[in-house]
Amino acid sequence: MSAGKAQKEKAIKQKFSMQLMYKQRYLLLMSLPFVIWLIIFKYIPLWGWTMAFQEVKPKNLSKHIWERPFAGLENFTKAFSDRMFNQTLINTIGLSILGIAVGTAMAILFALMLNEIRFVKFKKVTQTISYLPHFVSWVVIASIAKMVLNDGGMLDTLSGTKLGLMSTNSPLFWLTVVLVNTWKEVGWDAIVYLSAMAGIDQGLYEAAKVDGANRLQRIWHITLPGIKPTIVVLLIMGIGGALNVGMERQMLLSNGIVQDHAMVLSWFAYVRGIGNSNYGLGTAIGMFQSLVGIILLFLANKVAGWLGESRLI
């Protein structure tokens, strides 16, 4: 049997034999190094979850896993009773909810507008420009954002007032972060909705036109219902990732003044785990974040099912 034919049949049962291995020796040689790489860099760190249940500090770091003192759930109770934990959790959730709400609404609105505009050239130019910030690094974005939003920055000068977007230690800083994020990502995020809109049956629009529906009515009754499944899937994924607010963006956009409202779980895990060299505690915080994320994902999925929406899983 030639390999070509075999490739066409989807699932072929082959018996393991040295002969087969020899025949596929090149394929093995071409893939095994990467599997070894994968195991070292992706699977060995997974084993690190065990540190959440141990006392791991620099003094016993060199010991073998089974020689380290077993800590039970001590790392978790320590994390939950940390004076910064509650505020960090609130920040993470607040930022996520605000980010999902504003980000999704803006992306849909932008996609709708792009879908509606009839000046084709202009549409292309707008879209091209709107993706650009997506490809620029967070460091650059933060540098620009600080120039624009800092006290006495561009926006303050333009508006002639002191907005304090970067210097108010309150949940206002969440809004600042969300606005900067939206500015960076809205064009990119809109792509998904645009392609969903392209998949809507054009006959529906024709029929609605005949019935005398104006453009806003067509958007409301055809376009939005048409992209509803996409919205639901993205919302479920967004809720599943609600605790995974990355530390990079938070670190770069924040400053000493707004620190209290910028701290999020992943950053907190870094501060406690690596900053204070309490690796067990840091891992426990990271593990809490992942586990809650999985639970949230399933819950959102269930709720979508109850509401009669398409599910993700």
């Binding site: 390999a3 070509g4 490739q7 066409k8 072929i12 087969l20 596929q24 090149y26 394929l27 040689l29 071409m30 599997v35 790489w37 195991i39 860099f41 992706k42 699977y43 060995i44 760190p45 997974l46 690190g48 979850w49 540190m51 770091l61 932008f110 509606e116 505009i117 000046f119 202009f122 130019v125 420009i129 650009l132 910030p133 620029v136 690094s137 967070w138 460091v139 933060a142 540098s143 120039m147 624009v148 920055g153 561009m154 333009l158 500015w183 792509i191 005398g212 104006n214 453009r215 530390m247 990079e248 770069l252 003044i257 992943s266 870094y270 690596i274 840091g282 891992t283 990271g286 593990m287």
Partner: protein
């Protein structure tokens, strides 16, 4: 009667077109203006900039900000490191991704299912920051080693799936013909598959290169002694935080304004992205739709 109603709807729809046009113009300004402003500040005399930072053309043109950052902040070195990691990371990434993708496109390969599953799982679960940190710094001793930029992120599974979908779309007859002529799997990959994959490999190379160029956290965590452009920019931003302290602000006035320096570095860190942007723009939409093909 019906006719006038239809006309009324039509004219209202046309008004909507112009409203949209106006909104889009505004959005373009909001997106582009900050970049232009940064560019103008970077070429403007720092003392003059302090007067008012809102302008789109340098009022007093100068190159002093750029000269300063390349002299004082060792920006040349950082630039070289950023270029090196982008070029090497993209080169190594593309070769490895293409090789793995070819093997995993071969349905007759005995370990196909197993290997594919192993790779895909890592898209969803990860060990998290601290185990990775300990692995790289303590076990592998990669701290402040250039390899820490290349090896841990060598292959993105997403890119691998992209290339694999592309290979699966190629006609099999070519591979077969080569096999009949006695070519082994490696030769088939190198001589037949690789040249045909050029478009998707260009996409993937750009993804890797942009990812490498923009990467900041790995320098921050593992290699502060090998500062890249992004890291230098971060350090300048951190130093500028001192500005909040009024006494420090007094001292800084005499030196080159931190804002002007920062804007110059910001431009140096952004320009390469803007240069490759037309190519990105050309390839990534195609790349995204290939990625939509699920296995």
């Amino acid at each position: 009667m019906a006719n006038t109603k239809a006309n009324r709807i039509k004219s209202r729809d046309n008004i909507l077109d112009y409203i949209l046009l106006a909104v889009f113009l505004l959005l373009i300004v909001i997106t582009v203006y900050p970049f232009v402003n940064v560019l103008a500040i970077s070429f403007n005399d720092p003392i003059d900039t302090m007067r008012n930072i809102n302008f789109i053309f340098p009022r007093q043109f100068t190159l002093s900000n750029y000269i300063y950052v390349f002299k004082e902040n060792n920006l040349g070195n950082a630039f070289l490191l950023s270029v090196l990691r982008s070029v090497i990371g993209a080169g190594a990434g593309v070769i490895c991704t293409a090789m793995l993708a070819y093997v995993l496109s071969r349905k007759d390969f005995y370990f196909n299912k197993l290997f594919t599953t192993l790779f895909v799982i890592t898209m969803y679960v990860s060990g998290g920051l601290i185990p990775e940190y300990l692995l790289l710094m303590r076990d592998l001793k990669l701290g402040n080693n250039f390899l820490v930029y290349i090896i841990p992120g060598l292959i993105w599974v997403y890119n691998m799936i992209l290339v694999r979908s592309f290979i699966e779309g190629l006609p099999l007859a070519l591979q077969e013909a080569a096999r009949v002529d006695g070519a082994n799997d490696f030769i088939i990959w190198a001589r037949i598959v690789l040249p045909l994959c050029q478009p998707v490999l260009a996409t993937v190379a750009l993804f890797y290169a942009v990812g490498q160029w923009n990467s900041f956290m790995d320098t921050y965590l593992y290699a502060k002694e090998l500062p890249t452009l992004q890291y230098v920019l971060y350090e300048i931003m951190e130093k500028a935080q001192v500005k909040i302290d009024p006494h420090a602000a007094e001292q800084m006035k005499n030196a080159v304004s931190p804002l002007s320096i920062r804007m110059a570095v910001t431009i140096v860190a952004t320009v390469p992205i803007i240069i490759v942007y037309p190519f990105l723009q050309k390839y990534f939409v195609g790349g995204m739709t290939v990625g939509a093909v699920k296995d």
